[in-house]
Every structure is written in structure tokens, then in C-alpha cells.
Amino acid sequence: MEVSIQVNGKEYSRDVPPMMMLAEFLREELSLTGTHIGCDTVSCGACTVLVDGKAVKSCSILAAQVNGQAVKTIEGMAENGNLHPIQEAFKEHHGLQCGFCTPGMVMTAADILSNNPNPSESEIRHGLEGNFCRCTGYHNIVKSIQHAAQSLK
């Protein structure tokens, strides 16, 4: 079936099978491999992207379901070669180690901060409950988001 999806500001039309998930569409059709698949069943959050500005887990959304909508992936966060303040904060505060959960963390952080520009530590932790990280113990991820909140003001 024909789908037309705006990804990182650019429109893509593709003929895809109904079974194709958004994550697969991004990775296989558009070669945007920054969106990762960790569990493939909405538990780990590595596949998180923004659809119409909201964080969602792309592993279990059909590409067809987002037909006509706007998707933002990790590849669309930096602009003109400048890291987004959230990306910058993750780098500055060592909010990543192996990097696999990182795109999902950054996209989730974007959602958290867009709804709540001044999150408390506990609001950030609650906001990250859909994203597993096995490397950082979340410590520096939470710190990164706290600092990103400051710099986004």
C-alpha cells in the first residue's frame, strides 16, 4: 500500500506491505538506522521517535498508521551541523555509553521537556520509565535532561 510520511521535514512516498512497522520503514526504506530496535514489543523504548511532536515507540506502529503524519527521528535533531541542546547535554554530561538506547532517550527527553520545561528529578525519572538503559544506571541521563532543561530556557 502507498504511504506518504514526512520524516525530518522531508516527504517520502513508498509502497509498503501493511505489516511494515514505522521502525522498519525508517531503517529499511529510508536507511535512517539511528532508530534502534531493542525489544520490538514496546517495552524498551530504543525505537522512540516523535510523531506529530509526541514520543512514540516506532517498533509497534504500522507505517500505514502514520500515513500523512510528520515523524522526527534522531537524525533530525541536529540542525546545520549543530547538536540540539538535548544532544549537547547528553554529550556534556556523559549521558550515553554504548549509544544503543541513546536515540530513544533523546527523543523521549524531547517529549518530556516539551510538556514540562521545568521537570523535577522524579518527573524526569517517571518520564523515562518506558526507556531501558543497561549502561548508565540512568544517573547521567537524568543529569543530562536536567541540564538540557536549563539550556532550553
Binding site: 538506522t33 520490538d40 524498551c44 554504548c98 544503543f100 520509565e129
Partner: protein, 787 residues
């Protein structure tokens, strides 16, 4: 040489690619003509394969090939890398681990058939059509059950399912006698439960055979590409190493689970030649739970004897280690040489006996998982210490201070010879505990706790002071202990003609930040900007050789190999510089990136020396051109990081739920190259340790079905389960490696678990609770409080 970078929190150079979605994980690769594999796996824990019918799968659309254990690949087997013999000298039982099940399946999830198709969808659909007739056999999943007479046999030639029995330490009789005359004995009988490692990146392999070159390439999410190549070529498939390239770009976490040579790696490599096309397989999470080597799973009976004053007089441990259905690559050394040898802990214990029986069961293989053997032993020692303190009505900190080995730096004082074979390099256990007590405000807390108890609040504090053996390790030592490979590391430093430096290391980074930390010391040692240094790893055709990354060894062993090469470069550079400066090499000093004739202004920069080495028009006679050295570094000893972790908890008496109020860690990992990275390693390790204490545990039912095979059932720490981790460190350099570093990767996971469990036990000790089994689920805590 002035250190501009060493010791600084230099921001990671690898981060930009990860943060912008440009990491290169194996699953991100797509090769022309690539096919996809899916597996038919055993639904039974133990069964005879009566018949396999693949005809329907073969006919399914897009299917290129279907193989089973009846094909040639069934004759190949992945090896175990470490031989541990029985006490009586007999060789351990080492049944073959075929690439696909032959005749029998021994655990749920075992590979029975591989289906290769043009698309993943086609492969998956066809894998469902592989029709296998099974005859179920009796199942055993628990180590203690497995060694009972009459238990179902996993392998017919391993009586009582024993892989080996093994002991270390002082003669049993001496330990028994000391125990018999002890004033007090603290005894623990528990399970160190099985854990699923759960790197967030699932395992992924792409095998690509090039018929014209008769050459294989395996892209794999591994922690040690060279070791995979060695094991696969020399042991599994019998193919020549120079015809095999193993590539491991970015890897999304390992924690041990990606050290091992898995059957799927060899099988895909074999099959890619058969079908003449590249094949990709990416594990899904269910497969990861069922087949990524698990960790821990020991049944432990541990006893510690004390005299009247609280001095330890003896330690006796009896362990049954569950190794699963097959021997994974390093499985056999985990409950023995990585476990029994750490039984001295930080204490002067005069008599120690550790007795281990390793067994087969109808479960997924068990191998090293972050800490590997050392968390298990630390849990024994540290849980014994806090439990003993409660039982003897002593303060747990005091009890430790009383029993600590006195400080020794390994230079002015000799290393400490333990009762269990190892000699510690350097240590100051008083120092880390003192600092951790200060950080947590121990005495204040005890007052606060006494107040809280009056109002029925269950506050507790738990201590853990660990030591670990890292930087694995001297080849002669590990060889004598049964390792079937050397455990040195390789570091090549290639100075380019313009003075820029390419470094090739056999260590592998899957989150540890080698590209940054290694570049820091290389830049300092050569006196050049860090931007002039590039670190390469993860490709057997780029890096001469290597043993990979595990056991907190990268910097201590891999870093040291690089330092050796740098020394050779500096020496050779001195000859070139001497020629150019018309001075004697001995009169030169290498500092801040240039050679200077001592006491003069005459100097030549490192870059000019490099250029001269590659454009040797005016050059020392007899000296080879070029500036490129490779070194193998085989350390003199393991390294022994140590530390003190303290946890404060509050238990909800109504629900049994535990809240971690504070977690304090003071670690000593020797010298620190990048404190930001070291802290990060500690945070992550601590939270994995917390996971074991509170949440995680793989469970099989009596039929050998895993009942915790998804994230809906296997609980791992999420961001709101844990607090910030408060860290600090002391520095006791390693005396035997050039960087003085000890390793930080596993420390957190080793120290944290007992600290947390001890805190909970302290909190509920007022209710007379004596023992609790991990994970400390709310229900377990509630039940203990109720009884």
C-alpha cells in the same frame, strides 16, 4: 611528561555519532544480495528429536535453504575455552555443542533448524513450517536436583550431570577444625539467582562468503572479534584464519553476554558459503532471553567462623554451579577461577576452603555476566559480614576494620598473598570504607535510624567492601589454570608521516569510551594534541590480534600494550632526532612533543621526526625507515580494584516495597585516565547490582519453560527504580602496569548487590528476619515481616 589529558573528564569523541543516529551497529548494515535467517527452536527443555520434516518450509516462498543438525553443520561444534579438571585429575566433561541440535534438544530455545530466505518475513513464516516431532524426556533445571542420584541426565556421558568438581584454598580438614572451634559461625544457604544480561542491542550477525577470494567476512556484535575468529576457525569450522575477517563495529552493550562464540555465528558463516550469498540474523528479545548466555545461578552454602573478638577464623563455601545444557566459552572458569580465588576478599581470613561442583541442567548455558564469579563471591563474603555483625551484635563497619588486610602499596610493602592462589597487587581497604562512611554520614544515620524505629519506620543501612581480580591476565597463570588461550593484549601505534597517530587495539569498546580514554594517554605520552590521535578497534584485518574486552581489562592490559609501543616509538624517534640534532640519543629528552638536547634550546618536533622516518633522506645509518610499532603486553599479575559501597533503604511494612534512599560508592580503581567515564562505569554497574538485589531473576518452571522470557515478566531497573549514585574514589595505583590502572567496568555490579541486601536486612532486623532470598521482591519482604 606533563599530562594535559590524563585525569581529565575529556568529553567522549564517539558521542557525536551515537547522538546523531550515525552509530554503526551490525544490524544497521545491509549488503547487496543479503538474505535473512530465522530459526526453528526447541519448545521443549529435553526431548528426543524423532523426525524433522522441512519439506513445507523449503517450498515456502522466498526460501533459499533450510538446514538441520542432519546436515554437515550438525558435525561442527563450538568449543569451551577453559578446561577445569575434576579433583581426581580427570578432564572435565565437555560434550559437543553442535551448531544445530543433533538427535536431542537439551534446553528450550535450542536451535533446531535454520531457514534462509530472501526476506525476513519469508524466513520467519517458513521457520514456522519446519515440522519437528519430539519425544519429551524428563527435565532437570536446578543444580542441586541435577547432582542427585537418579536425576535425569542431560548428557549421557556425564554421570550425575557433573561437569567437574573442584576446590581451592586450605585443606578441608584444617578449615573444618578451625570452624569446629569457632566462637560463632554465621551460615547462609541461598541461591545466587540466574540473571539475563539484556544488552539492549540484540545479538546480530552477518556472514558473507566471497567465492572469488574464497574468503569469509563475519560482521558480529561481539566483545572480541579476534577470539571469535580464532574459536570459529580453529575449533568450530576448521577453516583457515587468514581467509576469515571478523568485524565488530559499534556494539550496543555486552556485559559479558557478547564475549562468547555462539553457534549462530559459525552456522551463518558456514551457510553463507553454501548458498553463496550474505546472510543476516538478528536475535529478537525472546530469543535473547532464551539463548544469550545467562549469569550467576549458584546454590551456595557458606559459613564464616569468628573468634570471641570477632576475628574471622575460617571460611567454608560449598557451591553448586548451574552451567546449563552446554559449556559456553568461559562458563567453566566463572564459578572456579573467577570466584573461588576471590574468597579472601579484603580480609585476613587465615583458613579458606571453597568447594565447587559444576553441573549440566536443561537450561540455557550460563557464563560470565558483569563481574563473573566475583559478584557471587563478594555477595557471599559481604552478606556474611553484615549478617555476622547482626548476629554478634557488633557494628558491621567495626567488624570489617578489625578484619581488613592492612594497607599495602605493592612497592614499599609486598603484595598480599591470599589463601586462594592469588597475590593482590596493592590495596587500602580501610581508606575506601572510611571515606564511604563519611560520605553517608554513618553515625548520624544510626541516630536517625534509632529515632525512626521508635515510630515504626523501617530504615536500614548496608555495607559492602569488595575486592575484584581484573585485568585478566597473565597468560602463564591463566594457562596453568586451564585457559585455552593467552590473555595478553595487542597494541599497535602507527605514526603517520605528518606526525598524526593511528592506534590499533585488540580491546573492544561497546560503551566504555576507548576512543576517548585511550587517545587521552596516547596524546599525553607523545605530547601531541588529542585531535592527532585516532583509535581503531573491532576489525581483525585492521588490528593485528587481540583478546577483546571483558573482565575490566581494556586499559590495564590493552592500554599497557599501547604504552609499550609508544615507548618503542619514542626510543626510535630519539635515534632519528639525535641524528638530526647531531647529538647523542642519550643526551635527548622527549617532552611536550619534542626532542630537546638537554640543557640547550636545540630541539626537533615529534612531527618532524615522523616525517624524517618516512622521508629518510637524511637518516641514521642502518636504521629502518618508518615509525610503527606493535606490542604484545602480557601483565605480571591481575589487578585488584576495591571499594566500599553503602546503601540506605526504607521498607514499607504494609507492602514490603523497598525504597533506595541513598547509594554511596567509594571505589579505588587505581589511576584514573578519565574520571567522567569511570564514574559512568560505576553508576551503570551499581544499577545492575541493584537489579540483581531487587528485581531480576530468570525462572524456569519444572518443565524447563522459562517463565520470565520477556520484559513483561523479567524486571530490570528503570529510571524511577533507582536514585542518583553518590561516588567518590581513593587512588592506590597498580604497581605492575605502566599506567597504574586497575579497571572499573565491573566494580559497581560487584559491590552493590550485597550493600543493598544488607541494608534491607538491617531495616527489617527489628522484626527478627534472619534470611531473605534475592531478588528481594515486595512479597518476599512482606512475608518475612509477617512471620
Amino acid at each position: 611528561m606533563a599530562n594535559q589529558y590524563i585525569g581529565q573528564p575529556v568529553k567522549r569523541r564517539e558521542d557525536n555519532r551515537f547522538l546523531t543516529g550515525k552509530g554503526k551497529y551490525t544490524d544497521d548494515l545491509k549488503l547487496p544480495g543479503m538474505t535473512y535467517a530465522a530459526f526453528a527452536r526447541s519448545p521443549y527443555a529435553h526431548a528426543r528429536i524423532v523426525a524433522i520434516d522441512t519439506s513445507e518450509a523449503v517450498r515456502s516462498p522466498g526460501v533459499i535453504a533450510v538446514y538441520t543438525g542432519n546436515d554437515e553443520c550438525g558435525q561442527f561444534s563450538v568449543p569451551c575455552g577453559w578446561q577445569v579438571d575434576f579433583k581426581n585429575g580427570e578432564t572435565m566433561k565437555e560434550p559437543p555443542h553442535p551448531l544445530l541440535a543433533v538427535g536431542k534438544v537439551l534446553h528450550v530455545g535450542e536451535d533446531v533448524a535454520i531457514v534462509i530466505a530472501d526476506s525476513l518475513q519469508q524466513a520467519r513464516d517458513a521457520a514456522e513450517l519446519v515440522n519437528v516431532e519430539y519425544e519429551e524426556l524428563p527435565v532437570v533445571t536446578n543444580a542441586r536436583d541435577a547432582i542427585k542420584e537418579g536425576a535425569p541426565l542431560v548428557h549421557e556421558d556425564a554421570p550425575r550431570n557433573m561437569v567437574y568438581d573442584w576446590e581451592i584454598g586450605n585443606p578441608k580438614e584444617e578449615v573444618d577444625n578451625a570452624m569446629a572451634s569457632a566462637h560463632h559461625i554465621t551460615r547462609l544457604d541461598f541461591m545466587n539467582q540466574r540473571l539475563a544480561p539484556n544488552a539492549i542491542e540484540p545479538r546480530c550477525y552477518i556472514a558473507d562468503y566471497d567465492v572469488n577470494a574464497d574468503k569469509y567476512t563475519l560482521y558480529t556484535s561481539t566483545q572480541n572479534p579476534h577470539l571469535i575468529r580464532l574459536l570459529m576457525c580453529a575449533f568450530a569450522l576448521g577453516i583457515p584464519e587468514h581467509k576469515v575477517r571478523v568485524v565488530s563495529h559499534d556494539v550496543g552493550g555486552g556485559f559479558g553476554s557478547k564475549i562468547y562464540h555462539y553457534t549462530e555465528e559459525a552456522l551463518l558463516t558456514w551457510a553463507s558459503k553454501k548458498i553463496g550469498r550474505p546472510i543476516k540474523w538478528t536475535s529478537d528479545r525472546s530469543e535473547a532471553f532464551l539463548t544469550d548466555a545467562h549469569g550467576r545461578d549458584n546454590c551456595t552454602l557458606a559459613e564464616m567462623g569468628f573468634d570471641k573478638e570477632g576475628n574471622i577464623v575460617a571460611l567454608r563455601v560449598k557451591n553448586e554451579a548451574n552451567l546449563g545444557a552446554y559449556l559456553s566459552t568461559f562458563s567453566t572458569c566463572v564459578p572456579t577461577y573467577l570466584h573461588g580465588t576471590l574468597a579472601q576478599g579484603c580480609y585476613k581470613t587465615p583458613l579458606i576452603n571453597i568447594d565447587v561442583t559444576a553441573v549440566f541442567t536443561n537450561t540455557n548455558p550460563v557464563d560470565a555476566y558483569r563481574g563473573a564469579g566475583r559478584p557471587e563471591m563478594t555477595y557471599i563474603l559481604e552478606h556474611l559480614m553484615d549478617t555476622a555483625a547482626l548476629e554478634m551484635n557488633m557494628d558491621p563497619a567495626e567488624l570489617r576494620f578489625k578484619n581488613f588486610i592492612p594497607p599495602f602499596d605493592g612497592v614499599n610493602q609486598p603484595g598480599y598473598q591470599t589463601q586462594v592462589a592469588l597475590q593482590y597487587d596493592s590495596g587500602n581497604y580501610h581508606g575506601t570504607l572510611r571515606r564511604a562512611l563519611e560520605m553517608v554520614g554513618y553515625e548520624d544515620f544510626r541516630r536517625q535510624q534509632a529515632e525512626a524505629r521508635k515510630s515504626g519506620k523501617l530504615l536500614g543501612i548496608g555495607l559492602s567492601t569488595y575486592i575484584e581480580g581484573c585485568g585478566i591476565a597473565p597468560s602463564a597463570v591463566v594457562g596453568s589454570l586451564g585457559a585455552r588461550a593467552g590473555l595478553y593484549e595487542v597494541g599497535q601505534v602507527r605514526v603517520q608521516p605528518t606526525g598524526k597517530v593511528s592506534v590499533y587495539t585488540g580491546a573492544h569498546s561497546h560503551g566504555q569510551g576507548h576512543e576517548t580514554a585511550f587517545a587521552q594517554f596516547v596524546a599525553d605520552k607523545l605530547g601531541i594534541p588529542i585531535e592527532d590521535v585516532e583509535i581503531h578497534h573491532g576489525d581483525t584485518e585492521q588490528v593485528a590480534f587481540g583478546m577483546g574486552t571483558y573482565g575490566s581489562r581494556s586499559l590495564a592490559v590493552g592500554g599497557s600494550a599501547i604504552v609499550k609501543s609508544i615507548e618503542k616509538i619514542v626510543d626510535k624517534g630519539a635515534k632519528i632526532a639525535a641524528h638530526k640534532l647531531e647529538a647523542a640519543a642519550g643526551d635527548l629528552e622527549f617532552k611536550d612533543g619534542k626532542y630537546t638536547v638537554k640543557g640547550t634550546e636545540k630541539s626537533i618536533s615529534f612531527a618532524d621526526v615522523a616525517l624524517t622516518a618516512y622521508v629518510p633522506h637524511d637518516y641514521p645509518e642502518g636504521l629502518e625507515p618508518g615509525l610503527d610499532f606493535s606490542s604484545f603486553y602480557d601483565p605480571a599479575n591481575f589487578t585488584y580494584p576495591f571499594g566500599a559501597h553503602i546503601c540506605v533503604v526504607e521498607v514499607d511494612p504494609d507492602t514490603g516495597k523497598i525504597e533506595i534512599k541513598r547509594f554511596v560508592a567509594c571505589d579505588d580503581v587505581g589511576n584514573v585516565i578519565n574520571p567522567m567515564i569511570v564514574d559512568g562505569q560505576i553508576h551503570g554497574g551499581v544499577v545492575q547490582g541493584i537489579g540483581q538485589a531487587l528485581l531480576e531473576g530468570v525462572s524456569y518452571n519444572d518443565d524447563g519453560q522459562m517463565i520470565t522470557g520477556s520484559y513483561m515478566d523479567y524486571a530490570m531497573p528503570r529510571a524511577d527504580d533507582v536514585p542518583f549514585i553518590e561516588t567518590d574514589r581513593t587512588v592506590t595505583p597498580c604497581p605492575h602496569n605502566p599506567l597504574g590502572v586497575k579497571g572499573a567496568g565491573e566494580a559497581g555490579a560487584i559491590g552493590a548487590t550485597p550493600a543493598l541486601v544488607n541494608a534491607v536486612m538491617d531495616a527489617i532486623s527489628t522484626h527478627g528476619v534472619k534470611r531473605l532470598q534475592m531478588p528481594l521482591t515486595p512479597e518476599r519482604v512482606w512475608r518475612a515481616l509477617k512471620n
